[in-house]
Symmetry: C2
Subunit: 451 residues, 2 copies
Amino acid sequence: MNELEKHLTEIVGDAHVLVDADLRAQYETDWTRRFTGEARCVVRPADTAQVAAVVRACAEAGAPIVVQGGNTGLVGGGVPGGGEVLLSLSRLTAIEDVDPLEAQVTAGAGVTLEKLQQHARPHGLDVGVDLAARSAATVGGLVATNAGGIRVVRYGSMREQLTGVEAVLADGTVVSRLSGLTKDNTGYDLTQLLAGSEGTLAVITRVRLRLVPLLPARTVALVAVDGVEGALALLTAARAGLPGLSAAELFLPAGLELVRAYGRLPDPFDAPHPAYLVLESAGRADATDEVLEVLGECEAVLDATVASDVTGVARLWAYRETHTEAISAAGVPVKLDVSVPLRELPALVAALPDTVAAVAPAARPIVFGHLGEGNLHVNVLDAGDAAEQVTDAVLRLVASLRGSISSEHGVGRAKAEWLGLSRSAAEIDVMRRVKAALDPAGLLNPGVLLR
Amino acid sequence: MNELEKHLTEIVGDAHVLVDADLRAQYETDWTRRFTGEARCVVRPADTAQVAAVVRACAEAGAPIVVQGGNTGLVGGGVPGGGEVLLSLSRLTAIEDVDPLEAQVTAGAGVTLEKLQQHARPHGLDVGVDLAARSAATVGGLVATNAGGIRVVRYGSMREQLTGVEAVLADGTVVSRLSGLTKDNTGYDLTQLLAGSEGTLAVITRVRLRLVPLLPARTVALVAVDGVEGALALLTAARAGLPGLSAAELFLPAGLELVRAYGRLPDPFDAPHPAYLVLESAGRADATDEVLEVLGECEAVLDATVASDVTGVARLWAYRETHTEAISAAGVPVKLDVSVPLRELPALVAALPDTVAAVAPAARPIVFGHLGEGNLHVNVLDAGDAAEQVTDAVLRLVASLRGSISSEHGVGRAKAEWLGLSRSAAEIDVMRRVKAALDPAGLLNPGVLLR
């Protein structure tokens, strides 16, 4: 054990500096098994003070750091590039009492989304963001990557939930902004700057989040529509007619087939249809009548099944939510996460199959996503050794439609090469200047976002 | 006319470089008449390309710039400190068509809030932010200062309306992000960094804003409550019981008296009461029943008058909205704009009179504001030559309650001296580093925000 590891051990204790390869292993590979890298050691501080001491020790030693939360990221942003100190925030699990007057809560970076939900709900409150990885994804990671998920159409992304952060800068200085003021125009909004910065500017140790009312009544419709244009027409109608609209999720026949086979789910409709939507309305009272009225008045709707009981809601959601699992079970996909302006969405969906086939003829693109934000998760199975070419072709298509090469997953290591498709040279230059200003030695998450 | 002025004339034309003192005058003093400074010249570019050329010319000449929108700011951030080129964005008035599918619009920095509202409303859409200066305040300034106003309780501040900006950096480079993607996790959110940066990092030339549904039915209640604690109890009840809650404005007996005398308004109640709230619910349908139910169940309510017709709504709003005018008519007040965590609001209101009296015995503090955000506008009349002492005493009181010395007006020149009361040395250091990274020569709005 060399000097730095000894110093880290003094800070966090023997049990929390993992140097042996077998102890490090579970931290070094992401859950998709696509990204892996060797860490110099794994260090697990218990609180902000320890994080600050660890970061300071690394800064003094000139040792790069990679920051990891729940290790549920999808772009390799939380696993080592090679040789970094892996800073795991999994022990920062303190949660403060819910503040019912402000409807806010402060939580350690290592608190999982699920734990935070369980903490808020007895107060009649809920977290505005929800996503499938809730049992493992941590709030620190959710903020650092500005996570999205299925409620963005109603409450916005993680950024919009955030009223403050506490973070450790690259030199070990702690900045703390946890008083939860919902309006505070005293200079640059460092909280918002850190949201979505993927651990490259500072290490987020605690977050202050606004909570939303817990809405007991959920009505879900699984709807067959006549295509993506039709899905957008239904979205517009739902936005106008359903004040409680809380999800609008799109998927396509290939995805439905995969999900049905994997989950042994019955066919929800008599015949296959061009596109499917899961619409959800959440509120204090059942919204079945409103949902049926919206569906009845939209010409794009071909068929629909509606539920508002707990079992029925779960049954309908399964057709959408099982996509990720079903795809993982079918192989290691090329995972892309893109968004385009809504008017370009039909063009994107129409062009995807040929775009993929041109570089990987045997590949199977499975597309689903969050309709309200024009956000498609493009998963390409059986891409063989054409993963790079598939990525390149799809991201170029997206850029040609004025879209984003990463709608909600972030850039990480996986997409850094393509950042220039979504951001101009001038913007990337500004980002580099901000990075250099906050982390002049480039020790925080090197290789992530900016190469 | 020297070299730089000649160069600027070549860029924007003779008519739009104002060098003579009498032509410059209207730009050099803010509307409150508290802040004034001499500009080297006033330059009025017509579009982004001209703004870029002007900024580049100034950068080459090493000439500092002060940026001005509608000149409705309250902290001296848009008037010269002395000797700057005053860059007026008042001619950037182009508005693009409303995009009904995304519910977004792109507007030039010089478009007034009122013009934008008029542009959106025929599409059944509205701007999420509204405030009294709407006829003059421009969207560029609203974004640069992260303006708040009376709808924040429902839609958030200007920051939350923003899906992108176009801006000119200190060296004249244009960065543009106007595709309006509601989710785009490709690196640092420069849009959010510029929001609220008060023109110190870049010159915002165009903004892309989300729009909200235009809600035709408004129900307003003017409510007398038994104190600030009672006002908070009513706020909590209104948040739970009024899904359409669109304003919650607080004022006090001294303000009511001033407003009544100024506007010759009748006394809304039989007797004076400890505190008053204007509650508004906006939606597609009249909410009078819901409002009455909330009022009826809240023990803090002493008396109330409710209206949902246009005339009645305007009549009740006048008691709150006339505050600024009535105060201005009574003198040049010390204007402070602070927020504290909601639980601290009663303590703040209780301590204010003595805090002010201790340094300015004859002064009259008039307090009103946006209850939902714990945001009080503290206007102190008759402070005499104790303006500085009043400011210092009140802002220190606010800081002791973990509050913000500028909730929505920004820091400008007026509050820069007190920034350290709300932001830590570490935070200010980060802000200075970001400023130096984007504007190394310090040419944009010198003396504003960071001294």
